[in-house]
């Protein structure tokens, strides 16, 4: 019997390495299953363990292979491949990308995509709208591109993170400050009426608790956005850190879910995590395809009726605008608002004439600049109205 217990705990160890949630309770139940099940055929045992140990779809799809290799000794190769215990977090973050559930090769594939750039020509164009501001004072007015001093940059980063936090607190406070509700709370009213001999003199009201907004940030990490990515990443870090419900994705030629990597408390470490995933920055941007991936694999889980999708991108798209328009339309049906923040809008004389931008405009609720901290801060009242 002891040998069986040992095998079970080794099996649960293997499952844990693969991101399953398998604790002592499950092991004890597994032992019980072996003891009590009337059939000891491997297939039955597999179904039983499957129901017990799996807790989500990804587990479900992976389980059979793991079971077979552990208990039946087949497919050992696969076991070795992942035996090196790749960190679970990065695995689960990358796996939904592009719909492939393997997830193992995705980082290397990302790294391969250093291709010719599109949209590079705008690098030298335009000057900041708020040029008059002195760059020595707070970096609030300064275009992110123009901050060269590393100290200043660090300040801008911190301010971005701070701003994200401030947004969160202000949004929450507004929710609490609501006036009396419109439904009568009969329970409380009756309670109060007992003292008046059953006559409900004091009415109590109730209002359904308003729940805070959920913010989903999609960051364009392509070459043309290079100057802004770092600051926006800090902003995202702040958002994820302080919002109750928030998710973040990065895209260039494909989409990566970065929430888990960014949950890292230390912002610099989080940045490192993320830069690993976004290697290949500098390739073209496929906004439409990335949105399609988002719609297909993440939208259902991530979006609800109180979601605001915030796209941070310059709108230079190497894909076809038709796909972008179609995917934005789909996205529109699923969330409350779409806000597109374009850092280039802060430049003098910028017109959204990129074809992709033209295709996207009809589906946006807000199209606003985001080239400095002020413009990010200006968003807060808009978000609060949701």
């Amino acid at each position: 019997m002891n040998a069986v217990l040992l095998r079970i705990s080794a099996f649960s160890q293997l499952l844990r390495n693969h991101g399953f949630v398998a604790g002592l309770g499950e092991c004890a139940d597994a032992a019980r299953i072996i003891a009590e099940l009337d059939s000891q055929r491997p297939a039955d045992l597999r179904s039983a363990f499957k129901a017990l140990f799996c807790s989500r779809v990804s587990d479900w799809k992976e389980f059979d292979e793991l079971f077979n290799s552990f208990w039946l000794g087949s497919g050992m190769k696969n076991l070795l491949k992942v035996g090196g215990a790749s960190p679970v977090s990065s695995q689960s973050t990358l796996s939904p990308m592009a719909g492939k559930t393997t997830g193992q090769n995705d980082t290397s594939e990302l790294a391969d995509q250093i291709s010719g750039s599109a949209g590079q020509e705008i690098e030298d164009g335009g000057t900041g709208k708020s040029e008059g501001a002195s760059s020595t004072e707070t970096s609030g007015h300064t275009d992110f591109r123009k901050i060269a001093d590393p100290m200043e940059l660090a300040k801008a980063h911190a301010a971005a993170a701070q701003l994200a936090k401030a947004m969160r607190t202000r949004l929450t406070r507004r929710d609490r400050a609501r006036a009396k509700g419109r439904r009568i709370d009969l329970r409380a009213t009756i309670r109060h009426s007992v003292g008046h001999g059953g006559i409900p003199i004091e009415l109590s009201f109730r209002q359904r608790k308003t729940r805070p907004l959920r913010l989903i940030v999609l960051l364009d990490a392509s070459g043309s956005m290079q100057m802004y990515t770092a600051v926006f990443t800090r902003f995202i870090h702040g958002v994820l850190d302080s919002f109750h419900e928030a998710e973040a994705f990065v895209f260039h030629t494909r989409l990566a879910h970065i929430s888990a990597a960014m949950k890292e408390k230390n912002a610099t470490r989080a940045l490192e995590h993320m830069s690993l995933m976004t290697q290949g920055v500098g390739g073209g941007t496929r906004i439409g395809e990335s949105l399609a991936t988002f719609n297909k694999w993440h939208a259902k889980r991530v979006l609800n009726s109180r979601s605001c999708v915030m796209i941070l991108s310059d709108g230079y798209d190497t894909g076809t605008p038709e796909i972008l328009a179609r995917e934005l339309k789909r996205l529109r049906q699923r969330c409350r608002r779409i806000a597109w923040l374009n850092p280039m809008m802060g430049w003098n004389g910028y017109k959204p004439d990129a074809r992709a931008m033209q295709a996207a405009l009809p589906y946006l609720d807000l199209f606003a600049p985001a080239h400095n901290l002020e413009s990010l801060a200006a968003l807060e009242p808009y978000l609060a109205r949701l």
Binding site: E26, S55, W60, R187, I190, G197, N304
Partner: protein, 288 residues
């Protein structure tokens, strides 16, 4: 253990539910381990049906709680019957004893409370748990581990029988790991060809084995067409019934009718425009 795996399978079939091996095992484990079962899967694969079948197998009552955003304790657990309380207070016209007002007589049982106060263990179906709020999920977790409810005015009510609990989720929201861990898990997929044919024959007895198989094969192909909303088993049954009603006994015999009735399977405008006559012909062409 009251019922063996083979028995369970047979009884499920009697109840009109054709279960695959893994599902039968999961239901069997519910008995052994006394854990709730979490069913996930796309809409229309028959998750809710599992609970019906299970209730039938055990000859138990099915109590259903449909979740939605904003569901709270007063809708799910219990509520006082305020109208009656008010009337009672008014009718006495004397200072009323509070205990009397907050007694069983004035208590409205909602599904959760109802399910733990049955004499015989019922099947409790908590449908679409992902639509409820996180707070409710946490509360449910507590109930599922203690099976007791405390009502401030009445005291603690202990379960007279532990219900068999089935939870379903459509993936509208990610449900918490704690709840997932508490439950057994089964992912309900679209049935394979044989199982779908079996379901068709079970539900529509006059369909005939060959036609059922043909329809099941067509559905298998249609689900590969990358539609936005894949047709579920219910749609298959509708389609088969429609075809039979129009006296079509072979998918190749009357292409016009077959194509027109295929709209039973398509549920969005987008899919409708994508699922053209050519696509339909290609799909049917592959079905022997």
């Amino acid at each position: 253990m009251s019922i063996t795996l083979a028995d369970l399978n047979k009884k499920l079939a009697d109840a009109g539910y054709i279960a695959d091996r893994e599902l039968a095992m999961a239901l069997h484990l519910m008995e052994i381990l006394r854990r709730p079962l979490l069913l996930e899967g796309e809409a229309g694969v028959g998750k809710t049906e599992v609970a019906n079948a299970l209730a039938h197998v055990h000859g138990a009552k099915l109590i259903r709680l449909q979740c939605y955003e904003g569901l709270d304790r007063s809708e799910a657990l219990y509520e006082w019957n305020y109208q009656r309380q008010l009337l009672a207070i008014q009718a006495r016209n004397t200072p009323t004893n509070e205990d009397e007002i907050f007694s069983e007589r004035y208590l409205l049982e909602r599904p959760l409370l109802q399910s733990i106060r049955q004499e015989k263990p019922p099947v409790l179906l908590i449908d679409e748990i992902d639509r409820a709020d996180e707070e409710f999920e946490a509360f449910l977790l507590e109930l599922l581990s203690d099976f007791q409810v405390s009502i401030p005015e009445l005291g603690t009510i202990k379960a007279t029988s532990i219900p068999r609990v089935i939870l379903t989720s459509n993936g509208t929201r990610e449900i918490s790991d704690a709840l997932r861990r508490r439950c057994l898990y089964h992912y309900v997929d679209f049935p394979d060809v044989d199982r779908e044919a079996a379901i068709l024959q079970r539900r529509i007895p006059d369909i005939g084995a060959t036609f059922a198989l043909q329809i099941a094969r067509a559905l298998e192909k249609i689900r590969k067409e990358d539609l936005r909303k894949n047709p579920g088993v219910a749609e298959t049954l509708d389609w088969a019934a429609a075809l039979l009603g129009l006296n079509v006994k072979n998918l190749h015999s009357n292409p016009e009718t077959v194509f027109d009735t295929m709209m039973c399977l398509i549920k969005t405008q987008e899919d409708k425009s994508r699922f053209t006559r050519e696509v339909a012909e290609r799909v049917l062409g592959k079905v022997a």
